[in-house]
């Protein structure tokens, strides 16, 4: 019974999904049935008034260094993400097991520090090389 009621809670979600699919298909079907049909030519099929002529690659090329920067950003961003909640509960936790909470963060920062040294020595921060 419990299983049934849990699934029943998701019924609105299912209904919304069905409605979305039915609506979008319905719109396509209606536009085919009642829409005006004219002659098609290659020029008519190009984008005009609302876009640019598709020339060249879809995605522009940019330096691979940006990926490196993005990766480093994520790495050290996560560090800060972990530091905030840690700093918030630090005073409270200090009473029970202070050594643990300090040691956990220090070992985490230590591992990241090794990563920092690695990035520096591999010249990941050196934009011009």
């Amino acid at each position: 019974m419990e299983e049934q009621s849990q699934l029943a809670q998701y019924l609105p979600v299912l209904m919304l999904g069905v409605l979305a699919v039915a609506f979008s298909f319905g719109m396509l079907v209606v536009s085919v049935i009642v829409g005006k049909k004219g002659k098609r030519s290659p020029i008519k099929d190009t984008a005009y008034e609302c876009g640019m002529l598709p020339i060249g690659e879809g995605g522009g090329r940019f330096s691979v260094k940006f990926y490196l920067v993005a990766m480093l950003f994520i790495l050290f961003d996560i560090e800060v993400v972990f530091l905030y909640p840690w700093a918030v509960v630090y005073r409270e936790m200090l009473k029970q097991n202070g050594g643990l909470i300090l040691g956990a963060m220090l070992s985490f920062l230590g591992i990241l520090f090794v990563g920092y040294i690695y990035a520096v020595k591999k010249r990941a921060f050196d934009w011009k090389s």
């Binding site: 299983e3 849990q6 591992i111 690695y118």
Partner: protein
């Protein structure tokens, strides 16, 4: 919190980080030495583990982490495997264009994941350790960046690995959603009352799917041959031994610690998967021309043999038999023999096919004359994998079949499973001896120059041969260890 229990993991992580930093100040020509340093460090940790560490009854990290006999058995197993893999990679290093120090460090980080997997007593730690292993293997598999095969292996492993991860994590979410428990011991207490809940069972099934990918059991085996073929040989060796064993220890824990009551109902499912995996692996290995691909299919078959032991144990939960742990202990024993045979075979592949682009079996022609030591090791490895006495593989298969036959009177399906497994063994003789034939009797040998083998590689090969003979001829010590280790399971 008892952080001292995590000593293996601390030491391996520290070693990996030191290696990563040391690599930055080491000139390129001296980087091979780092591999030997790492192997020596792991040797010291293994020695420390054997001498100073005893199974602990107290769990650590809020009952997430246990250091029982099973965990210690697998930790030592992983350490031994990683030592041989590191020595192999030190030999392999001239074929890596860049990042030799990183290769060693990644092997150590994958090892850390395996060490955590051996101790996982909680779905959260199970998931994290599994991810640590898989993510490092994505990089290790695609390490030869200029070889197309290696990149293909990396991408395939990434896609299949991500898929299996999503199955696992979805399964864990369903299990947690129904039972509100992540810890295996807590789950074992409440699991019987959810035995009829379909969402709960579906969640567990998805977790099994994720672990099935790791051990390459049918029908989740498709990635194995491609990845085994394309990845660098040391990575393949570590994947075949370490990653598979990590899958098995997690499988044992989930099936026999977390949900033993449900496992008892699933013995038929395990029988079917095991039988098909054995037949699939062995039949598909026959037409292979590439030796690493052949070993990939053979590793699927071996996963099937070990699942046979797990299926045999699953039946013992429901009915009381004299020796309930026999099946699981046979799996552990079998893994011990498998370690030396597979690592021996891959060390030979690494050395003998050094200058060949593709590791095809005909390239092994004339190995018997080029290097008797390599030829003997490869032959013994094949014979052991095929399961011919007196080598380790024979006694392991014997124990697995015996454990399954003991369940035969209650469930006749086990007789059929053993019949399928014996058919698989007979089929496997064909392709294993195809390799031996190429080594000794092939007439196509183009290159008969002798192969020089460094002293450390010589020692590694001797160690693998000695391991195969020792486990086969004196099964007592390892069998006692295995029987002791499976006491941690609820059989």
């Amino acid at each position: 919190m008892n952080l001292a229990l995590l000593s293996h993991e601390w030491l391996v992580v520290a070693l990996g980080l030191c290696l990563l930093v040391a690599d930055l100040w080491t000139p390129a020509s001296a980087r091979r030495i780092l591999g030997y340093v790492a192997a020596a460090g792991l040797g010291a940790i293994l020695l420390y583990s054997l001498i100073a560490v005893r199974p602990e009854l107290q769990p650590a990290c809020g009952n997430m982490y246990v250091l029982d006999g099973l965990a210690l058995f697998f930790k030592r197993f992983f350490l031994a495997a990683a030592i041989i893999v590191l020595l192999m990679s030190a030999e392999f290093f001239d074929r890596l264009q860049a990042g030799i120090g990183e290769f060693y460090a990644l092997v150590l980080f994958a090892l850390t994941g395996m060490l955590f997997a051996a101790s996982a007593n909680d779905f959260a730690l199970l998931f994290v350790s599994l991810e640590l292993i898989t993510v490092t293997f994505y990089v290790l598999a695609s390490f030869q960046r200029t070889r197309l095969n290696s990149l293909e292996a990396g991408v395939k492993y990434l896609i299949m690995g991500a898929l299996s991860t999503s199955f696992t994590v979805f399964g864990i979410a369903l299990v947690y959603g129904i039972s509100r428990k992540l810890n295996f011991n807590d789950l074992a207490a409440v699991a019987p009352q959810f035995g009829g809940n379909r969402i709960f069972l579906f969640g567990l099934l998805l977790v099994l799917v994720g672990l099935g990918f790791k051990i390459a059991a049918f029908p989740f085996q498709l990635w194995a041959p491609d990845v085994y073929q394309g990845a660098p040989s040391p990575t393949t060796a570590f994947l075949a031994v370490g990653s598979k064993a990590a899958g098995f220890v997690l499988l044992l824990r989930v099936l026999f610690v977390a949900v033993p009551d449900i496992t008892a109902q699933w013995s038929r499912l395990l029988i079917v998967i095991s039988g098909i995996t054995i037949l699939y692996g062995n039949l598909c290995a026959i037409p292979q021309r590439n030796i690493k691909r052949l070993l990939g299919y053979s590793s699927i078959a071996h996963a099937g043999y070990m699942l046979l032991g797990i299926a045999a144990s699953a039946a013992t939960i429901a009915n009381t038999t004299q020796n309930p742990g026999a099946g699981a202990a046979a799996v552990l024993y079998y893994l011990g023999g498998y370690l030396f045979a597979v690592l021996g075979a891959f060390t030979v592949i690494c050395l003998a096919l050094r200058h060949v682009e593709n590791e095809d079996i005909p390239a092994l022609a004339g190995l018997g004359q080029r290097s008797p030591l390599l030829a003997t090791t490869l032959t013994l490895a094949m014979v052991s994998l095929a399961g011919i006495p007196p080598l380790a593989g024979f006694f392991g298969k014997f124990l697995l079949f015996k454990a399954a036959l003991a369940q035969g009177p209650a469930h006749p399906a086990y007789y059929w499973l053993v019949a399928a497994a014996i058919a698989g063994v007979v089929i496997s003789l064909w392709y294993y001896f195809g390799v031996v034939h190429a080594v000794y009797w092939s007439k196509e040998a183009a290159n008969l120059s002798p192969i020089s083998i460094s002293r450390t590689m010589r020692a590694t090969l001797y160690a693998c041969v000695a391991g195969m003979f020792f486990i086969g001829l004196c099964p007592g010590p390892l069998l006692d260890c295995a029987a002791e280790a499976v006491k941690a399971l609820r059989l």
